[in-house]
Structure formats: structure tokens, C-alpha cells
Symmetry: C2
Subunit: 487 residues, 2 copies
């Protein structure tokens, strides 16, 4: 009884994880019940007879979860059946021209040679990736047709019936899978990459805080959720095979939604590879969170806190925006600024390190810190590469331009001025706030503003940004970070 309850619970979980699974199950049941009408309906049975079972068989074997997989398998099956059928008939004719004792021997030799050759060809990597199933069906059909021909006289009739039932079975699968709640492998691949980017962004958004201080959060549920989000990146490490099979299926799919027929799926694999490379670095970085963390002197950490946090935060934001723009299929125009910010944080970290604050620290104590920094720099480089690859994808796949006005500008327009504590850029210039609402550039220069932050608006999420820019040296930074720091 306990066992049954457990199975039901598991079933509920599986269905909740992806409700399309339930729909798919119904679809399979429907097509199968439909195709078995070949047996019940007299006129149909009269024309196909026992061969109707090939339609049933085709449905069971061909109907896969995604449209691409179904189309691929269906196409493979029909093409292989046609080709093997023709060859089988040929072999049968050739064999029947010899003597009565010679015929079975010749047929057996044909079957042997064909099966051995086709099985060997299945090992070719390029064949295995796309036409493995074709060859399986090829071996099967050839053997069945050439050999049954030995017993049945009307081998042409038999082949014709078999092929038409296979085509009917395959076609009904394809039609139902396309027109009834379709599951597109291409869409899945697209979402997989977007969610992978998001998983990395979760890590990076939190990393700075976690590395520089213990996050003081008493709500254990919240902590658990964050921890889960934080560790989510691990699934990215092994996503290669999944991505590859999805891309393989996607190639079979016709245009759908925003995906054209020849959507650049190859570019998705390149992007996925870069994301995975980044995940490897993050995995290495994660080990520095838990392990030798205590070795780094607290005061040093405190001094480096700001740029370190900004580096991870900005690259995390860039990832998040890339994930969003991939999801919405818009050009990732607003990500550049975050990458630029991360770069400038890198630069200020470099300047800090060069200023000699590490002189009195033992080199050994630096190892873990400098490694974390170096990995972070690596991650920022990779973020840039990912962005480049995403730009390429966006132009190859003709992503739209972002048209809607970003939320931030509307919010900032609501209040007339955002005053922050005096912020100095790297070269000690006082920074100017530009309210970038597109209409009027309200540029207010406060040479020595000492007021506190006047409006403690919540700058959470990645949608609200006010970018500030130093007029003298041109360095960008994001206001929300400065506000966070100044609290």
C-alpha cells in the first residue's frame, strides 16, 4: 500500500515537472486507438489485413516526445522501409532465378551480407548521430521482405501493403504530434540554454555576498531556496549530451513560432559549449567558498569587498539579461553595459591590488583569494565571449530589437533627482548622474554633494538600473550598486 502511494506521489511529481508529459501520454493512446481501427473497420481490414499491425508497430516505435524526434524517426522509418523494400524485392527476384536448393542459400547469403554491412555502417559516428534508426529498420525490412518472399508468392503486393501501412502509421504520428499540443525540441533547446544561463546568473549574483560575508538570513526556508538556486549550476556541467540530441531533433522540425525551418541550431551548440565552460570555472570557484575560506585575512577581504562583489554581481546581471533576451528572442543590447561594468570593477580591483594593500600579507594566505579573483576574471572573459556568441546567434536568427522602454527609465522619471553620496571614479573625478530617459538629459553635476541617499527605492531584480557615467574618464557604473554599497 505504501508502495502504491509512493508511485502515485512520484507520478504527480513527474507530471508537475513537465505537464506536457501527461498530454503526450494521451496523444499516444489516442493515435494507437485510432490506428487499431484498421482491425475493427471492415473495409480497412479488407484492404490491409494482418498488415495493419505494421501501422500499430510504427506508431508505438515512432511516436516520440518532441515533434523533431517523431519527424526524424518517422522519416527514417519510411525512407528505410521504401529503400529496403525495393532492395528486398530485387534480392528475392535474383534468388528465385536460381534452383530450388540454391534459393534459400542465396537468400541467406544476401541477408548475412546486408545485415553485417549495415551493422558496421551504424558504427560510423556521423551515421550513428542521425541515421541509426534508419539502418535498423533497413536491416529489419530487407530481411523480412526478402525472406518472406520465399514463402509468399505475391511479394510485390506484400511489400506494397507493408509500406503503405508504415506510411499511414508514421503520418498519423507526425500529424498528431504537430497539430495537437506540439512539443518542439527546438523550443526546448532554446529554453534549456536560457535556463542554463539563468542558473549561472543565480550563482554569480549571490557569490559576492557569500564570499565576502556570511549572508545573515534567518528565514531557513528562504536560505534553503537560495542554496538550491545556488547549486543549480551543477546541472549545467553535464548538459552536453542533452543539448546535442535536442539540436539533432530540432533540425528535423519545420518552422514554428519564432523559429524558422533553418534556424541556426548549430550556433546554439556553440553557445551551450561556452556556457558549460563558464560552469566549469564556477564549479572551481564554488570550492573556494566552502574550503579554505577562513585563511584569507578578514581585513583584506573587507578592502577588496566592493570590486569583488561588483565583479560577480555585474557578470551575474549580464548573464541574467542574456537569459532574458534569449527567452524573449530580443537582441541582448542591454547586456553590454553590465559586461563593461564588470570590466571596470576588474580594473578597480587591479588598481587596489597594485596600491600595495597586499604587501604585508603572507603569499600563502593570498592563494585562495587570488585564485578566486583569477577565476572571476576568467568568468568575466567568458561572459564576454558568451555575449559575443549570443550576438552572433541573434543576428543569425534575426532576433528582434528591444522595443519596449525599459522599466528603469519610467521609474527614475517619476522622481526628479536621485542623489547619492559623492561617488568617485577611478581617477578621482566626481561622477555625474545622467537620467537617461531619452528625451531630456537632465545632467546634474554635484561637485561635493554630501547628502544621504534621498530616496531609498528598492533596486532589486535586474530591471531597475540607472547608469551613471564619469564625464571626465568615461567609466560607467550602475547606480543600484552604488546605492547598495552606500546603505
Amino acid at each position: 500500500m505504501e508502495k502504491v502511494r509512493e508511485i502515485v506521489r512520484e507520478g504527480r511529481r513527474v507530471a508537475k515537472e513537465d505537464p506536457r508529459r501527461v498530454v503526450h501520454s494521451f496523444k499516444v493512446g489516442l493515435v494507437l486507438a485510432l490506428v487499431s481501427s484498421f482491425y475493427y473497420y471492415q473495409p480497412l481490414y479488407d484492404s490491409f489485413g494482418v498488415n495493419a499491425m505494421w501501422a500499430v508497430m510504427t506508431v508505438v516505435v515512432v511516436f516520440e516526445f518532441s515533434v523533431g524526434a517523431t519527424l526524424g524517426k518517422g522519416f527514417n522509418r519510411v525512407a528505410a522501409t521504401l529503400f529496403a523494400g525495393a532492395l528486398g524485392i530485387g534480392a528475392h527476384h535474383l534468388a528465385s532465378m536460381s534452383s530450388a536448393t540454391g534459393e534459400p542459400i542465396l537468400l541467406a547469403i544476401f541477408v548475412f551480407v546486408q545485415a553485417a554491412l549495415s551493422t558496421f555502417v551504424r558504427f560510423f559516428p556521423r551515421v550513428k548521430a542521425r541515421y541509426d534508426y534508419s539502418l535498423l529498420i533497413f536491416i529489419l525490412t530487407f530481411a523480412l521482405i526478402s525472406v518472406s518472399g520465399f514463402r509468399e508468392e505475391q511479394v510485390l503486393m506484400l511489400t506494397h501493403k507493408r509500406i503503405s501501412t508504415v506510411i499511414i502509421g508514421g503520418l498519423s504520428c507526425v500529424l498528431i504530434s504537430i497539430f495537437v499540443c506540439p512539443v518542439w525540441a527546438g523550443q526546448d533547446l532554446h529554453s534549456l540554454l536560457a535556463s542554463n544561463l539563468e542558473k549561472l546568473s543565480f550563482f554569480l549574483l549571490d557569490f559576492g555576498d557569500k564570499y565576502c560575508e556570511a549572508v545573515g538570513n534567518d528565514d531557513t526556508k528562504e536560505v534553503d531556496k537560495r542554496k538550491k538556486d545556488f547549486d543549480n549550476y551543477k546541472s549545467v556541467l553535464n548538459s552536453k549530451s542533452n543539448e546535442e540530441s535536442l539540436a539533432n531533433f530540432a533540425k528535423w522540425e519545420p518552422g514554428h513560432g519564432q523559429f524558422r525551418f533553418r534556424h541556426p541550431w548549430k550556433q546554439y551548440l556553440a553557445l551551450g559549449e561556452l556556457i558549460r565552460q563558464c560552469a566549469y570555472r564556477i564549479h572551481a570557484l564554488n570550492s573556494y567558498l566552502n574550503a579554505d575560506d577562513t585563511k584569507v585575512p578578514v581585513d583584506i577581504k573587507h578592502k577588496l569587498r566592493e570590486p569583488l562583489k561588483r565583479m560577480s554581481l555585474e557578470s551575474g546581471k549580464a548573464m541574467k539579461e542574456m537569459s532574458m533576451s534569449l527567452k524573449k528572442m530580443t537582441k541582448p543590447s542591454s547586456c553590454d553595459i553590465h559586461v563593461q561594468n564588470a570590466r571596470s570593477a576588474c580594473k578597480s580591483l587591479t588598481n587596489l591590488l597594485n596600491s600595495g594593500i597586499l604587501k604585508e600579507v603572507e603569499p600563502l594566505e593570498l592563494i585562495s583569494l587570488l585564485t578566486a579573483i583569477s577565476l572571476l576574471i576568467d568568468i568575466i572573459n567568458l561572459t564576454e565571449k558568451i555575449l559575443e556568441s549570443l550576438h552572433e546567434l541573434a543576428s543569425a536568427a534575426k532576433f528582434k530589437d528591444k522595443i519596449e522602454r525599459p522599466l528603469s527609465f519610467e521609474k527614475t522619471n517619476a522622481k526628479s533627482i536621485v542623489c547619492v553620496r559623492p561617488i568617485k571614479c577611478q581617477d578621482d573625478h566626481v561622477i555625474t548622474i545622467i537620467e537617461d530617459d531619452g528625451n531630456n538629459d537632465d545632467t546634474s553635476k554635484n561637485d561635493n554633494c554630501s547628502k544621504e541617499v534621498s530616496n531609498r527605492e528598492k533596486y532589486e531584480g535586474s530591471d531597475t538600473h540607472v547608469h551613471i557615467k564619469c564625464v571626465s574618464c568615461g567609466g560607467h557604473t550602475c547606480l543600484c550598486d552604488v546605492v547598495e554599497c552606500s546603505r
Copy 2:
């Protein structure tokens, strides 16, 4: 014509990569030709008729490359056919009790419910991993039997014939795959892990040299080969899915060679995971070889050269020996010394770093160097974990003790003394050479030996080691390294 030649070349490559593929192709051809004799041989055809095609079909679908996969599929197919056959007959009986119009409707409902339910269950992760094929066959057989029953009167007879032909087909696959040149998935998994370890060892053995100086080797062929060996580790990064499927197949296999029936395959997965973790670190380390390498001051590199090289060399040797011991299924007893050596090299590196040689270097210039060091330390830690896991595997799988006398001792006994340039340990003690042959400890102490290496025996490969030990501070090192350094 060029295309054909290319295909032949590809075929040759595929066959050369794993000659068992050719044998497998012949086996498939053989079984198929054998099973099609059902059609040719009159007595057999009399008893099975057209149902003989189920035997052909079973062979084509069930015969996989490895014994485990074939057994698994065969078992799945037979069990599912039996079970679905029984249920199908039941459904047929139930339906036939109703009216003539009700029967097809009831049958269609049965088929629908069964197909939908089974398809849904296929999404359960645990079911998908091991019984996916079972469920496919279950759906198929149930639909075919319950539906054909509508037309054929002797449904019991039909089911009986179908099941026996499936059993015959499955059995012939299993027998041929076990007794004619068997390919064991377990053996493949075992070799895969050993070769993965070896690939990592190639990297680590070369890394020290590559990092500390350009390898001056003019023989481009040799360089190319080394580069290939060096980059081989990349295949380890994505070996997870391969390992998992091999382990799944291996569970079906009976005892063979040195593998018992319940060989601890799970432990292989744990070991594989650790190896992959190490590969991730190596991947990160590799990026420091090519990139910012020039930033590290040459004199610093020179000073740290020795312990750095020793760290990577010793961990590489440990990996290599682990790979050997896994291959030979002996306990990895001789690896501990290498791990210990790597640890002691770590210690001397630490001492060097603490001695203040980095004081005058800019912290920025240190980043790449310290990161490489930290990753190396990480790798050594992981090497230790891998060794632990291997020890666990060795005791769970009852690996033999290493009985043969290691090559090194015999070689060193052949000459009476091995004289090297005076070697000083960390604390400036002169080092004593212990010829560890187990019988007599020929301990010769040379307080200020200035002779050159007297015997330039080749200390290549990982089998010839003379371990030297400092009597005062107890530090171990491997003589072959010293000899290498003193050349």
C-alpha cells in the same frame, strides 16, 4: 568516386579504432541468417508460419554491441511480451463477452488506457533508466494481441507462437553474444576509467615542464603526439553519460573473467565522478598554460620550478599507477608514495613561498601563478580522494595484492650503488639513498658527494623508482626526478 574512397577510409578508421565492431557485424549477420532458416526449413515453417518474422524482428532489435545491453534488451523484450501477452488475452476475453458493437469500442478503450498509462510511466526517471524498452514492447504487444484477437479466433495459439518465436530470437542473440567473441560492457567501463585516469596522468606528467619552460623538442611528430596526449583529457569532461549507460548494461551481465556477477559497478560511477572533478580542475589549469603565462616573472618561475614540477609530476605518476593498478586489477599500494611525494612537494613549495621570495613581486603578476598553484594543490587533494575511492573499489571488488616484485628493485639491485649529485632536502640535510629491496637496507651516506651521475640508466615510464629519504627530517622523494633534474 572520391566520395566512395572517403567512405572506405572512414570505414577503415572505424574498424581500426575498435576491431570488435567488425566481429559484431559478422555476428549480427550470422544470427539473422540463422533465424531466417525458420522460413526455409519446412518443419520449422510448419510450426511457426508467418510468426517466424517475430524471431527476425527480435534479433534485429535486441542484438546490441555489448553482452549487457543485449541481455538487458532481450530480458526486457521477453518479459514484456509475456506479461503483455497475458494481459492482452485477458482484455480480449473481457471484450468478447460484450456485444458485437461493444467489442471494438471496449478494445479501443483498453488500448487507449494502456498506451497512455505506460507512456506516462516511461517518464519516471528510474523506469526510463532500466525498463524503457520493456514498456515500449509492452505497449506494442498488448495492442497487437488484444486487437488481432478481434479478427483471429485462436488468440491463445497466436500468442503462444508469437511468444515462443520472440524467446527463440532473443535466446539466440544472447547465446551468440555471450559465447562468440563477447564484448562485456563491464570490461569496457573498467577500461574507460583506467584510460581516463591515464589521460589525466599524461597531462600532469607534462604540465610541469610545459609550465616552467618551453619544451625544446624539434621533432614535430613527437611534439604533435605529445600535444595530442596532452589534450586527451578533454574527452574525460563529458564521459558521464557514457559511464552511466555502461554501468547500466554491466548490471545485466553474468560473472566473466575477473568480474563477479555482483561486481560493485556503483563504485565505478563514484570513481568516475571524482576523475571528472579532477578533469574540470585540469581544464581550468590548462587555460593558464596558454594565456597570461608571460605575466609571471621568469626568475620567480625559476625559483618555484622544482617543487611545481614535482607536484605535477608526482600526482601524474600517482594517476598513472592508479590507472595501471586498475587495469591489472591489483591493489593500488604503490600509489601512496607518489601522493605522499606530491604532498611533500606541496610543503616545500609552501616553505618557499613563506620564505619571502614573492615580497618584491606585484600582486597582479602573482595572480596567474598562485592560481596555477592553487589548482595544482586542488588536483593533489583530488588525487588523494581518487586513490581513496580506488582503495574502496579494490576492497569491494577484491582486487589482488600486487605480488610480483616491482621492476625497480631488481634493476637497482643489479648495480651496487646509485650515485647522484649531492641532493639537499628542505632543511639542508644531505640525503641518504635507501635501496629498498626488502632484504638488506644498503644505506650509504655520502656527506659531500660531488661525483656526477655514474649510471645514466633510463628512468622512463612509471615502473622504475628508487625512493630516497632524508634521515634527519624524513622527507621522501623519488630518485628518478632527482636524476632528471641533475642531467
